[in-house]
Structure formats: C-alpha cells, structure tokens
C-alpha cells in the first residue's frame, strides 16, 4: 500500500513476459514498467518519483484490504480486494501470445471479477515517456485511448466501462471488467479484441503452469525454489537469452541514500550461479541459451571479458543521473547505465570458466572455436591474476588485491585444467596448473589472518568479507580446515541479527550505509552444507526463506532492524543463491 506516495519495496510483485517486467503494488498500482524492453526507458516510474513518474492505478474507491498471491506455478498475479461492500479479484499478467497469431508487441492485461457484493473501482493511467521526461499525446479513436510519443504508443482498451484514461466503474457479483494496455515501438499498434485478450490471458497462465511443472525439484523448500525459478525466468530476456540482475533501477540500498544502481543488465559474474541453478532444476535449454549468449556477447573483447552487458549484447552502458526524478522516498540520485562496466573485475573469469565447465559437463561438447576461446581466456587469467581489481562488490575506491578475486582466478585455471583433461579445449595445463598452485599459495600466505582465524577481504585491509563464503561453492579448499573457521568468523563479525549478514564493514568508495546483503545469507547456507554442517545449514535456511515478501520475492537487501526489503527488486542473484543453497543441502543430505 502507498503511504506518502511510496509503498515499501517488499510491497511490490512483478509480472513479465520475457522482454520486460512491471512492478505492481498490493494496492493495484503499476509503478514501474519499461517499454518495449527491460532496459528501455520507463513509461511508469512512480516508484522513482511518485509525483511525476507515471503510474497505472486500479483499485476500489472505498477503503479496502488486499491479499494477493501468484496463481500457483505461474507468474500471473492475483490480488483480492475486500471492501465493506464486497470483494473483487484483480488478475494481472503480461501476456504471451500463441505462436503465429497477431498480437500486441507487449501487453499488460488486468482483469477484474467481482466475487460478492458491489464494489466501485477507480482507475487512472498516466504514462510518462522516457523516464518521465515527456507526457506525450493522448487521443481517443476506434473506441480506445492512445498515448503516443514518437516511436512509442500505448493503447488502452477497456471492456466493462467507457474507455477513458481515468474513471470509475461499478461491479456487482459475477460481473467482470477487462483492461488491456498494449504497447508498440516503431510499428503500427495491434489493437486487441476482448476474446483474444481473454485467450492470451488463459494461454499465459497455461504456459507458466507448464513451464514450472518442468522443474525437477522434489527437495525441501519446494514453494520457495519454484517461486525463485519463476522469478528468474522473468529476468531472462527471451530474444537473446541474457539474464538481467533485476528489472529495476535505483531502488535504494538505504532509504534516502546514494547507493542506487541500475541493474537492468546482465552480469557475467552471475553466470556460474545461473548455470548451477538452471541445470540443477533441469532447465537445460535456458542454461545453454544463457551460456551461448554470454560467449557470443563477449566475442569482441575476448580473452578480456566485460563486467556486464546489455541484453542485446552491447557493452556500452554509460552511467547517467536522472536529476529530474526525486528517487524512491527521496533516495537520489536515480541512475541509468552502470559505471561498473568500465571496471576490472577478475572474479568474473572464475565464474565464466566454471560456467563453461558446467555447460561442457552437462552437454558433453564445447565446439572447437569455443574451446580455443576458452583456452585463451585461461591464458589471460594466468597473466593477469596478480593485478589488483575492483572485486565482486564493484567497489568504487582504489582497486585492491581482493582475496575472493584471486580465489575465482584459481577456479578459472582449475576448470581450464579439467576441460583440457577431457580434451575439450587445447591443453596448456603445463601453464595453468602451476598458475593455479601459485594463486593458492598467494591466498594461503597473504589472504589468511591468523588472528581473525579467517580468510580476509584483502591484504591491504585485514577485515572480513562475506563474498569469501563462495570459496566452498567453487570447491576451493587448501585442505587446512580454514573454510569452516572462516564461515564462523564471518557469521560472528558480519552478522546483522538473525540469519542476516552484511557483506563487509570497510569502505568501498560510496558514501552511506546499506542493509544486510541477502545473497550472502544464502551463500552462508550453501557453504555450511558444503563443509558438512548440514543441520546448521537447514536451520538457517528455515529462518531465511520466510523473509521473502508475501509473494515469495526478495530484493537485494534486507533492513536488519525493520525487515524491510531494500535495493533493486526482485533480485536474481538472491533467488539463484536460494536455489543453489537448497540444492547443496539436498545433495549433502543424500551424501550422509
């Protein structure tokens, strides 16, 4: 529910169609939607500026309570409003269309059904194009409301009320109304009819049910795992196979703070977590599509890899501040683009090589060209690992010798050796294995602090870093029982209360505080399971899963004091970490 213009971040749910996604608050307001693609400019951005961002609200006129859920096994949202006069159900979806049928380029469908009594509904649609820089033109023709701005056009169709940009309607028991907001870009609009809109909504529900039913998961936390994979599917950009970190920009990591980033891009770092999760649940096609996407996207820069890419494969992502938007609860600046694209981050090489290994292991083949490219990437890591970098957290202070980055370089060379051993890439193990050994020796000598009893963030600042929980995940183990000790130290010193963890406490070149980093808590579960502390892992998982919002989604961070979700929403990395943690516990229990 909106209060002072903004609902809590955790009050949102998301619907999408594999190209873009909309945030919908529990009071029925669509506060975020970019068109035509997830990284295009917004048409609704009230979440970043309640006054001028633009929104599509649809709710009872009288005071109401709202309860919502996703229709089980789908990304179709169902919100039930209860007023003193009656009950009405709102079904929201971005529709998918049966192949070969004429359909809108993008379409948000909102269906109202009165379950009992009489309910008056009010709606208002105020699109604001290009991140609310322009209002556009509004006109009515052919019984529809058109909102146009240059190459973009929205068509609002309403069945059950007069087609106007705002208005009221009254529904009695068993009566229905249907709203379709169809979008086009660079093309004539396709104006939907009622029957085919209903058909697309039914098809969409049916598609999601079928897709979720393919998940090969009979383990614990089934609902959370399924919701996570469904949320992840919404982050997959279907035309290319890229997976964005989140469908939003600039939702703050602390209210009123400056840690507001644009996550509508695909980070190569997430590759290993993504392939692990998709393969574990049996989504081989999606896993291999993502693999080929990032190998293709990075083709021009290989063996050097970019930190992040646009969903169309471009690596040009200049960071800009949108001064005309006031930000979520005055959290400025609002940014588009991401300066991290220019950083050196060595950890991503471990993620990419591990992904190549996972792909080859499940697929059985790599292809000669990809094999050669992989070997060149491994050669690059052999040369570059001694460099300082900006690390997994993309710090904006001076580059450092992050221990986690070194460990990921070790993983890169280790996986290259495995691939060479299988004959899948040119064999240069005589270089790579000594390189991996040298990195391990460096980590054990410079990356360990006897006093803390833990691996440390960097030799330059001897403090803890929750990213080191990924060491067991990449199977780094120097055989000295240092992993378990590091886990305990991180839990003790970076603990934010309950199952929550801060990612680090040191400086990172950005002013202000932030919440607990939810992914790190799931990495903690994963790490515990992998070092054999399965009961602890399962107990922690039981504590973490209920921290999701009412529809099972996580933002990037959680406020340790209030439990409020912070940061971009929903965040893919958290849901990937949740799935992988559940898989690790299941695997560990099977080994017991």
């Amino acid at each position: 529910m909106h209060r002072n213009g903004y609902p809590p971040i955790g009050d949102y749910a998301v619907v999408g169609d594999g190209r873009t996604a909309a945030l919908i608050a529990s009071d029925g307001a669509v506060d975020w939607l970019c068109l035509p693609d997830v990284d295009s400019p917004s048409v609704f951005a009230a979440v970043l500026d309640a006054e001028r961002g633009g929104a599509f609200s649809l709710r009872p006129s009288d005071p109401f309570d709202a309860e919502r859920r996703y229709i089980p096994g789908t990304n179709v949202l169902e919100t039930t409003f209860r007023t003193a006069g009656g009950t009405v159900r709102l079904t929201d979806a971005m529709t998918l269309s049966p192949r070969g049928r004429l359909a809108p380029m993008r379409e948000l469908v909102r269906k109202l059904e009165c379950l009992d009594g009489v309910v008056e509904i009010e709606w208002s649609i105020e699109p604001r194009f290009d991140y609310a820089r322009r209002i556009g033109w509004t006109s009515t023709r052919d019984g529809r409301v058109f909102f146009t701005d240059g190459p973009d056009a929205l068509t609002l169709s309403i069945w059950g009320a007069e087609p106007t940009a705002s208005g009221r309607l009254r529904l009695a028991a068993a009566e229905e109304a249907l709203f379709s907001l169809a979008a086009t870009h660079n093309r004539p609009a396709v104006i939907p009819g009622r029957a085919d809109t209903e058909e697309r909504l039914a098809h969409t529900t049916s598609f999601w049910r079928g897709w979720a039913a393919d998940a090969q998961w009979e383990g614990p936390w089934r609902d959370a795992v399924l919701r996570s994979i469904l949320a992840l599917k919404l982050l997959v950009f279907a035309p290319s196979g890229a997976i964005v970190a989140a469908p939003t920009s600039s939702l703050p990591e602390s209210i009123g703070g400056a840690r507001n980033w644009d996550y509508r891009y695909s980070w190569l770092r997430d590759a290993t977590f993504t392939l692990n999760a998709l393969l574990a649940l049996g989504y081989f096609d999606a896993a291999h599509a993502f693999f080929w996407w990032f190998m293709h996207a990075s083709r021009l820069t290989q063996p050097r890899l970019g930190v992040l890419y646009r969903v169309n494969g471009s690596s040009r992502i200049p960071e800009r501040e949108l001064d005309h938007l006031s930000g979520y609860r005055r959290s400025k600046p609002v940014r588009t683009g991401n300066e991290a694209a220019k950083q050196v981050q060595l950890d991503l090489y471990g993620s990419v090589l591990d992904s190549i290994w996972l792909h080859a292991d499940s697929h059985g083949d790599l292809g000669a060209d990809t094999g050669k490219a992989t070997a060149k990437i491994a050669d690059y890591v052999s040369r570059e690992w001694p460099r300082p970098d900006s690390g997994i957290w993309e710090v904006r202070s001076e580059p450092r010798h992050f221990v986690q980055s070194k460990a990921m370089c070790w993983a890169a060379l280790d996986r290259a050796c495995r691939l060479a051993e299988r004959g899948l890439i040119p064999d240069r193990r005589q270089t790579w294995r000594p390189g991996a050994n040298a990195i391990q020796a460096w980590i054990e000598q410079h990356g360990w602090d006897e006093e803390l009893g833990a691996y440390i963030r960097a030799p330059e600042d001897r403090e803890l870093d929750a990213s080191l929980l990924t060491l067991p995940l990449i199977e780094y183990d120097a055989g000295r029982d240092r992993l378990s000790s590091t886990i305990d130290a991180i839990r003790e010193r970076l603990g934010a209360g309950g199952p929550l963890l801060y990612r680090y406490l040191g400086e990172d070149g950005v002013p202000g505080d932030e919440g607990a980093f939810t992914t790190c808590s799931f990495w903690l579960v994963d790490a515990l399971a992998r070092v054999g502390r399965v009961d602890e892992a399962a107990a922690l998982m039981d504590d973490l899963v209920p921290l999701a919002n009412d529809v099972g989604l996580f933002a990037e961070e959680l406020d340790p004091s209030s439990g409020e979700h912070l940061g971009n929403f929903p965040q893919g990395l958290v849901h990937l970490a949740l799935i992988n943690a559940a898989v690790s516990i299941r695997d560990a229990e099977e080994r017991r």
Binding site: R99, R101, L102, D142, P151, N186, R187, P188, A189, R194
Partner: protein, 159 residues
C-alpha cells in the same frame, strides 16, 4: 523512354524508399512499417508477415515504375525532375487514398471506424496522411517517394 530503365529504376528506387523508411522508423520518426502492413494482409504471423511484406513491396515498386513509364511515354517527357513530381503525386495518393482508404478496405486485419473489436486483434489504421503513425510520418513518406520518383525518372531517361 526505356521500359527496362524504368523497371531498373523501380528496383533501385524501392530499395532506397524501403531503406529510407526503415531508417526513419529506427530513428523514431515514424511507426509506419510498410512490409508489416502489407504482409499481415496475407498472414497474422508477424515474423512471416515481414518477409512476405518485403516481397510484396518490391513487386509493388516495380508495378508503380511501370505506371511511371506509361505516364512518361504518354506525355513524352521523363527525367529525374518529372519523376520527382510523379513521386509527389504518388506520395499523396499512397498516404491519402491507398494506405488510408483502399488498404483498410481490403486488409483483413486492419481496423476501420466500423471494426468490431470483439472479433479479432486488428492493426492500427494509418489515418489521413498516416498521421496515426507519428507526426513526421507524412514528411518521411513524401521525401521517400520523391526519391523513388527521381530515381525512376532518371533511370527511364537513361540517367
């Protein structure tokens, strides 16, 4: 006037016209998509419609160049300047009657003021001088057709 020249001009002119309109589309000046409009008359599969539409558009380009040649022969005059004038007439006809009146009348999937939207999804009708597809659509269309006419006229007259 050379018929072969006019047809060759029709081919080159259609290439230029189609590319110009596409560039204008990408530049955000118009939402008009002629291959889509033409192709969806034959299929509702948008991917196939684009391919069919390009073929139909090229055929139409050649057909119109034949018409240009007939006019050149009838008045005993050709060349790029007269071709440009015919291009202007062509553009006004295309925007005013062909796409706005004739196409919706025969197109099975294009909306008209009497469309019943209960039945099937329909393509947005272009409106007079294609104004529904964006403010600059008329200008873009006229410029593209002027280029087409100039090329056909020049080719027919042997450059």
């Amino acid at each position: 006037m050379s018929l072969a020249g006019a047809l060759a001009g029709g081919f080159v002119g259609t290439l230029v016209l189609t590319t110009g309109l596409r560039l204008a589309q990408v530049a955000g000046l118009t939402r008009m998509d002629i291959p889509l409009l033409l192709g969806t008359a034959f299929t509702e599969d948008i991917r196939r419609a684009e391919a069919i539409g390009y073929a139909v558009h090229f055929f139409n380009g050649l057909l119109f160049s034949f018409g240009y040649w007939l006019v050149f022969e009838a008045v005993g005059q050709g060349g790029w300047l007269f071709g440009t004038f015919l291009g202007l007439v062509h553009a006004v006809f295309a925007g005013g009657a062909l796409v706005n009146v004739l196409l919706p009348a025969v197109h099975p999937r294009m909306g008209t003021p009497s469309s019943d939207a209960q039945e099937a999804p329909v393509l947005e009708a272009p409106g007079f001088m294609l104004f529904n597809y964006g403010r600059y659509t008329a200008i873009v269309t006229v410029v593209a057709h002027l280029a087409y006419g100039a090329i056909v006229g020049a080719f027919a007259a042997g450059l």
